[in-house]
Every structure is written in structure tokens, then in C-alpha cells.
Subunit: 567 residues, 2 copies
């Protein structure tokens, strides 16, 4: 298994590990503004329509006050622990488009959606990042008889909500309990974020009809994707691939090493739906279940900021994902007769630029880490064309660089994913200077359990998909280590959201989800006993009825406060 890879005639992959810090080889040209008319015609109306629909349900409640000057805050994200954990980004020309500018974008970039996504990301993350500055102001107030009133005024103005009186009124005795206040405020911000997400669908992720039709036209009836559990891939579906989250099955695992048995069980469930209910299509339609895995790497700091589960070795990460994908296919083929099989797809993600790399299987379903097509290169090669010419060139590039025997539907899907990703490449160039400033971990909280559909933002959440601490111990330990650097080293506790989704139409399912939350809470407190005892590991417990498509329901916390009270 070589960790070095050279571009071949049949590959659009760059060797990102050819040096300690490989400089991207593409040389962006001088931005040539694409004529406005070439932008995909259906993007603007789509966004507008969805905003309208959401507004009819209930007026959105902004996470952060809308009145503040957003531009003034467009500075690199400040976090208490940032300096301690983030490597210095090598100083080199990033060749971005001008910040916030829309000139120089790829003709197929969905500008309206980029603005919408940016707005959502910015205000959501700011809501979290405002917490520390606000708490610093409260800390600086010192206690006076007017303290509680002043603190609530600041919180209301800056965070958009009041703090629990209980945490303020006793401050005269032993000072303000900043740690508890921090954990509570993170949880409350999360709760508001989740509420907004399920109420307003800010990412238009429930608009699945077009996507469902598209993948069926390509020969698939379900798109099941496993990104790495790393927080830098949490936006893979909604941002990087620009897919409606409600149409995609997402199960994150460390190192993208998904559970084969669990995935076979899902395959069984989906197949039965086709037979019994004709959903998503009837069983006689010759479509397949498509399982994709997303491995990742860092073009800026490949040997340190790649996938921790695979020692930042990109080749190892890709090979491991291929092995797991093949194991899943073999499991289906060997366990079921009558030609049962599945389709596989491997995707690589550069977590610094959000550019993807797609590896297409040959006719036998074999995947190769060495053969693929890189969206960043496609972007560079097609950005000066008209939208129509670019789309046609992309299809040609994907076809040329796929295995000769690749399935036509798979080639078509890959071309669509590459096209979708062009918008995200431009998104990072528009708003992040071409590379994210936070190339390392900078998650705001830990998520543990089953669910978290609302987590669609990069580096917001370190997510451990698990039933029990016992099974997910390794992932939780990694998360804890990350947050020891991000939070504990600066005296702040680790906020953990424990969450289990359930099917409300199944009797007793809610009670069992609640019990699972409580069991996981006890097990977490037990495993990280020292931190928990010192008040450095706080938990919010929440469940959600998946069938009702409602928001989350907070059922408790380790703070002894009813978080939802008064809101």
C-alpha cells in the first residue's frame, strides 16, 4: 500500500502526499466574470420558494439577533482554545476570489444557494462563538446590586435570550459560576439551532423530489453515505455534495468504517419497502442500493490534519474505506440469493478546500484509490466555459477518467456530484479565502447517540454515532482528547449532547429512547469520572420523534437546570 501516488493518464488525482506540505498544483487564472445568464436557471427560484414555504409555517426565530452588523465580524473565528489546537496555516497565496465577491465564480456555481448556506453557517456558528465574549463581559462586571439586571440585559442583547436567574442571583456569594453558565449557554444555543433547523429547513434539505428522480434515473434507489465522524465532514451532505439531507441516509463513523451488519439490515428494510409499498420504487425496477464512503485528507497539512483514525495517511484511509465497501457488497451477495447486490462509490474530501475526488467502480464493482476525478481540477478546467459547455465538459472528463467499463448511470451521478461540488469549492473561495482557517479540530460541542439530522455544519460538532459508551468508547476518547485541548485546557467544560431519535409510531419507543439517553449519560459520567466530578463534562439529554418530523425534546441535563424553562 503506497502512500505516494502519481497522476496517471487515466487519473485526475493529484498526489497530495508528494511532499511534507504539497502546494496545490492548480494555478487559478485571473477571475473572468461569467455572464450572469449562464447560472443554472432553477437555483434562485428554488431557494426563494423554500424560504416562502418555511415562512408560512411559522416565522423563523433567529438564532442570533438579526440586527447586528455581520460584516464587521467577518474576522477569523476566535475561540478560547483555538491557538492551542490549530496548526498555523502555511502562509501562501490562496488565490481566492475576493471575499464575499461573486465575480470569478464557476459558471455552474449556485450563487443564491451559496449565499443562503453562508448566511446559515455564519449566524449559527456566531451564536456559539458569541458565548465566550459575552461571558467575559459578565465576568468583568463584578458584583453590584444591579448585576443580575445588567447581565440579563447583555445576554438578551448579545445572545438573544436570558440566562437562568438561578445562576446569576447567587453570584454575590462566591462569584459567577462561569463553567455552568458556559455549558448551559452552549446547550441553549444548540437547542435553538435545532428548533430553527426543524422548523424552517434553512438548507432546503426536505426538498427531495428532484434528487430522488435524479438518482433513480442514474439507476439507484437509495443514496447511503458514510462520512468520517470527524467534525470537518459534518457538512458533507448539505454543503460539500449539495444534496437534500432528508433524501440521503447518513451514518458517520470514525475513519468511515461503517458497520456492515447495520448496513445490511438497512438494505433489507429498503428492499422490503420496494416489494411491499413500491417505495422508493417497485422491486422490479432495475435500480440498486448505492453505498458511498467519504474518506478525507488535508491538502494544507497532509501529514497532521488528515484522518486521525488512519494516522493522517490518505492512501490507508481510502483503502480501508474500499475494503469496508467491498465487505458490504459481499455480505449482501453472500447472504441473499437471486442476484442481490449493491452499487459502491468512494469519495475523497480535502477538508481544507472542500473539493471532492470521486472514485468510480468498474463493471465488476471494483474501486481503485488511484483512479478518480478531482473536482478542484475540473473546476480549473471548466471555469471559463459557458454553463452549458462546462456541464458537457464535466461529463466528458468524468467518463474519460472513470474505468472503461464503468456503469453509465454511475458516470452520470458522479458528474452531477462533481458539478454540485463546484459550488462548494467556490463557497470556500468566496468566504474562506480558498482554505478554511480552521484546518484542524474546532468543534463547539460533542454529539453522542443516534440522530443529529440538524448537524449539517463543518466543525460544529464532534459526532460519535453510538448506542453505548462501551461500543463507542474509542470514538468518545478521541472526542474527549480533542475537547481537553479546546475547552478543558482553558478551564471550560466539555458540552456533550446525548441524543436518541425514535419512531413515534412504535409504542413505547419514546420511553426506550429516554432510557437510552439516561443510560448513556450514566455511562459517560462513569467513563470520564474525573472530568464529570469536577464539573468539566456536562451533558444535555434530548430525544426526537423521527416520524413526527418535529424538533428535539430536551429531557434533562447534568446541570440540574431545566434548560427549556422559560423559553
Amino acid at each position: 500500500m503506497s502512500s505516494k501516488r502519481r497522476p496517471t493518464r487515466s487519473s485526475l488525482i493529484w498526489s497530495s502526499q508528494s511532499g511534507p506540505v504539497a502546494a496545490p498544483r492548480y494555478r487559478p487564472r485571473t477571475p473572468a466574470p461569467a455572464p450572469e445568464g449562464t447560472v443554472g436557471p432553477d437555483t434562485e427560484p428554488r431557494a426563494t420558494e423554500t424560504v416562502g414555504r418555511a415562512a408560512r409555517i411559522r416565522a423563523p426565530r433567529p438564532v442570533a439577533p438579526a440586527s447586528r452588523d455581520q460584516r464587521a465580524r467577518r474576522e477569523p473565528r476566535r475561540r478560547t482554545a483555538e491557538a492551542a489546537t490549530q496548526p498555523v496555516v502555511p502562509a501562501r497565496p490562496a488565490n481566492p476570489v475576493a471575499a464575499g465577491s461573486e465575480s470569478g465564480l464557476h459558471p455552474l456555481t449556485d450563487r443564491a444557494m451559496n449565499r443562503r448556506l453562508r448566511d446559515y453557517e455564519e449566524r449559527t456558528k456566531r451564536a456559539f462563538d458569541d458565548i465566550v465574549p459575552v461571558l467575559k463581559r459578565l465576568s468583568a462586571l463584578g458584583w453590584t446590586p444591579d448585576f443580575e439586571h445588567q447581565a440579563q440585559r447583555i445576554a438578551e442583547a448579545e445572545l438573544g435570550f436570558q440566562l437562568p436567574s438561578r445562576l446569576l442571583e447567587d453570584a454575590w456569594v462566591a462569584g459567577l459560576d462561569i463553567r455552568t453558565l458556559f455549558a448551559w449557554t452552549v446547550f441553549e444555543t444548540y437547542r435553538r439551532m435545532a428548533d430553527e433547523f426543524f422548523l424552517n429547513d434553512p438548507l432546503c434539505g426536505r426538498d427531495t423530489e428532484g434528487f430522488d428522480q435524479m438518482i433513480q434515473d442514474c439507476g439507484f434507489h437509495l443514496f447511503d453515505v458514510t462520512p468520517c465522524a470527524d467534525g470537518r465532514l459534518a457538512h458533507a451532505v448539505s454543503y460539500v455534495l449539495r444534496l437534500p439531507f432528508a433524501a440521503v441516509r447518513r451514518k458517520s463513523y470514525a475513519g468511515s468504517l461503517f458497520d456492515v451488519e447495520n448496513t445490511v439490515a438497512k438494505w433489507v428494510e429498503v428492499e422490503l419497502g420496494r416489494y411491499r409499498e413500491g417505495k422508493p420504487n417497485t422491486a422490479d425496477t432495475p435500480t440498486r442500493y448505492l453505498k458511498a464512503a467519504i474518506y478525507h485528507y488535508s491538502s494544507v497539512d497532509p501529514t497532521h490534519q488528515g484522518c486521525a483514525a488512519h494516522g493522517s495517511n490518505e492512501a490507508v484511509a481510502a483503502t480501508a474505506a474500499i475494503e469496508r465497501l467491498s465487505a458490504f457488497r459481499e455480505a449482501v451477495e453472500n447472504s441473499f440469493c437471486c442476484g442481490a447486490s449493491v452499487a459502491l462509490l468512494l469519495i475523497g474530501l480535502d477538508t481544507d478546500t472542500d473539493a471532492i475526488r470521486i472514485h468510480l467502480p468498474d463493471a465488476m464493482g471494483q474501486l481503485s484509490p488511484a483512479q478518480g476525478v478531482d473536482a478542484a481540477k475540473v473546476h480549473a478546467m471548466t471555469r471559463d466555459l459557458s454553463a452549458e459547455a462546462a456541464r458537457s465538459r464535466i461529463a466528458e472528463l468524468v467518463r474519460t477518467h472513470a474505468p472503461a467499463s464503468a456503469d453509465a448511470g454511475m458516470v452520470r451521478l458522479a458528474a452531477q456530484l462533481i458539478e454540485n461540488n463546484l459550488s462548494q469549492i467556490d463557497y470556500v473561495r468566496q468566504y474562506q479565502g480558498g482554505h478554511y482557517p480552521d484546518i484542524g479540530h474546532a468543534e463547539r460541542f460533542v454529539g453522542a447517540g443516534i440522530g443529529f439530522e440538524e448537524i449539517q455544519l463543518r466543525n460544529l460538532t464532534y459526532f460519535a454515532y453510538l448506542d453505548t459508551v462501551e461500543e463507542g468508547a474509542a470514538d468518545l476518547d478521541v472526542g474527549c482528547t480533542i475537547f481537553r485541548g479546546l475547552n478543558v485546557a482553558h478551564g471550560l467544560p466539555i458540552p456533550v449532547v446525548i441524543r436518541f431519535d425514535y419512531h413515534g409510531r412504535v409504542p413505547g419507543a419514546r420511553d426506550r429512547a429516554v432510557q437510552r439517553c439516561q443510560r448513556l449519560d450514566l455511562a459517560l459520567a462513569d467513563r470520564f469520572e474525573g472530568l464529570a466530578a469536577q464539573g468539566m463534562l456536562h451533558r444535555l439529554l434530548a430525544v426526537r420523534d423521527r416520524d413526527a418530523e418535529s424538533g428535539i425534546e430536551v429531557i434533562g441535563d447534568s446541570l440540574g437546570l431545566i434548560v427549556a424553562e422559560g423559553h
Copy 2:
């Protein structure tokens, strides 16, 4: 929810909780020998044939030497801890048939199968029960230069296998390590028992054709049963109900409170098999998935020896099982369209006599704890008839005491189960004097994990069906408490078999099963740290390939010995 219950006109149930120790109301008549010709004609040939088939595969390796005088040992089971944990059985006439006698049996009792089952139970349990006497003899030997030779001679003669030299050769230094030797010997006896089970099918449990046809004729395509995890129900399928274990899905849970989501997933899998592969029958056949739960009670000591999970309250146990069954049906009905549903059946078991009680649902699927038919009463009412007349009377009794709207196929199945159980009632009367002497817990080892198809004997194993200690903690704590009384109180360690079955045709499944064993082993040692550190909790780790239908594979133990070595 009343814990008392009176017989009603439509019920064959006795109130077993009408007094502290309710005396059974049946008055067995003087045994009237049934004519030999009335015994079911296909029982003798079946047993003989299966013995012949097994012998062709490989000569059975007896668990215990076959040469010993079995009759001389037909004494109540002696266990180290028996006195400490078993309540005194009230002295009262048990009205059994003469021990070992075949006269006075019910005409439908399968005498040949009873002998076969008795042989298997007796030699298997003896293999475990011989361990303590043998170790006592070794303990009495004292060390002489000839010790190791003598010890091996005794072990070989009494147990049928040699002991690990490593445990004997250092005895001159600090005496014999009886605790380690005990754990090793229990594990080795278990291993040999499992080997014999999978090799020779001593219970004819793989002979499923007739049963499959019968339940399909009754309108069902799968019989899925959840007994309580209590060791006194471990023989429910093979002995109490006389069903081929390979044809029945058995998932034991404490209090019979099976996992609804897990059962729905199984339903999905079975339905897909019908659609895709026509197994066990095609999806258009109007048969249903049948889910049964077995609750239990003690007629001898109802307030102490009933179900621990329900405080020995029979009515609570039955009601809880009905609730769980109904939740399963609702889950299927609410989660799937097109009239998806399942059939339900509730069975009660008197763990002292092995007599069952069947509660049939009405046409709406509703079950009542108060309405049912009791096999012990049916036995008393039909034992003097001819086989043919008895069978016809049983059908009539079941029909009469079922809800008026009960499904005809369900009535037929219930009549068959009642008939099967008559053999077991006689089995207990023939060999145990009508009531088991061990009415309380007397398990020989703990089983934890997924699998254990070979556990088909009463009170042999305390079984905790679980993926993780975290989820199964309550069940394990109960098991540990039982074995503190049975073993630890007498200085002997608790032997725990950790086991995970896997599907060998799924790539990597064996590795994952091995990892699960190791993870569970660590978690167990962690939860019961004190016991483990003192060498009072030993674990054997084993996996089994379900697809290969092979025996178990021992992968390690906490003794630091390779158990399988040299055998």
C-alpha cells in the same frame, strides 16, 4: 391489576396465587397403564433414525464416560451452594408416576423421546455436577511426588478428560489452585457439551420439516418465541414445547420483555425472504409471523420462586408480556402499510412442573391473562382416554376455552402445543417426582452474548442476551447475585461464557465477533472488578459461525490457559 385470579367458566386456569403455597388442585388417579398401541406411531422411528444419522456423521463423544452406573446416581442433584439458595420444597404428595416407570403416562406422551431427552439431560448435567466431587478428591490427595499422575488418572476416569498439567505441577509449592481448576473444568465441560450438541443433534432439533409444515398449515410462517432469561426456562423450546430448536427463533429476555425494535427488524428480514426467495413461503401466502412470549410462575412457592423481574407476581408478568406483544403488533401495523400485521400468543409456564398455560387471542388479536387453557388440567382430563380420543378431546377443550372469535389455525396450533407439553408433564412426573427438586436457581454457569443455541437444558445456564454490559447491566447484576450465592459464598468462582455468533458468509464478521467478545470481557471485568481481581469471576470467550452450522470456537479465557489445547 389483581394478583389473584379465580377460575371462570371460560377458563381452564387455576388460581395459583390463592394462598401462600397453593396446593395443586388436580388429583391424579391411580395410574392406568395406556395400551402400548396408542402411543403416537412416529415417535420411536424418529428417534432411532436421528441417532443413526448422527452416528454416520461422527461417533458421538460422550460428555461423561458411558461406563458409569447411572441409576446409582439418580439422587437429587448435589451442588455446593444448593442449601444456601434453594428453599425447602414443601413436603407433600407429588403423586408422581414411579420414578423411571413408563406406566401411568398419558397416551399421547412420547415415551421414546422422553427417554432420549432424559438421557441427554442426565449425562450433561452430571458432567457439570461431577466437577466438585472430583476436585474434592484431588484436594484430599495431598501432595506427593505421584500427585500429578494420580490426579490425572482420577480426572480421566471421572470426568473423561485430563486437566492442564500447568495447574497440577506447581501444587507442591502452595497447594492446588482449586478455583482456577474449577473454572477451567466448567469451561472444558461446556466446550465438550457444545461440541456434542452441534455434532450429534441429541435433541433432534434440526429435524424441522414436519414442524415447518405444521405451523404453515396453521397459518403462520415463523414461530418467534421469547421466554424469560431465567435458567428455568432455557429448555422451553426443546423440552417444554417439544419443538425443533432450529425451526424456532428464540430470544430470551429478563421478564420476557423482548426488544420491540429488534423484533420488528426480524419481521422485516423474514418478510423480505418471502418476497425475494419464497422462504419460508411466498409472500402471497396468507400466513403470519407468530410472536409468542412465555411468562412463568411457581406452583410450589408462587410468592418467591416466580419471575424475579416481576417480583414473583404472576399477573404482573402476564400483563407485562401482553403489553410487549401488543407493542410489537402495533409497531408493525403502524410502521408498514398494506395491512401488515402479526399474530400473537401468550404462554405461561409453571417452572416446577413444566406444565404450560396457553392464552389465545381473539379475532382482534387481544390477549387476556384470565382466559386460557392449562395443560396440566388437560392432562388430568384426557389421560384415561385412547390416544385418538384424547387428541380429539384436547382440540375440543382448547376450542371451548379459547375466545369465541379465535382464529381456527391458532386453536389448532395451541392444541398441538398442549399435546406436546403432555409429554413434558409426564417427563417431570417420571423423572422428578412431579416437581423439580431445584425449584429455585441452580444454574451451573452464566452465558452472556448472542447465540447459545446449544443451551436447551433447564437450570444449566443463567443467560443474559446482550450486546454490551452497558445495556445488559441489570440482567448481569441479577446473574452475579445468583452466583454469589451459588458459588462465591462457597469459595468458588463464577464461570461466565462470553459468546457471539456470526454469519461466516459476511466478510469480517468473525473478526467483529471476536472483538465483541473481547470488548464484553473487558467490560465485565470492569463492572465486577472486585470479583475479577480476586479470581472469583472467570470468563471463557467463544464465537460460532452460524452459517457453517459448526460448533463453537474458543478464542480465549481469563485463566491464561488455552482451553482447547490437547483436546
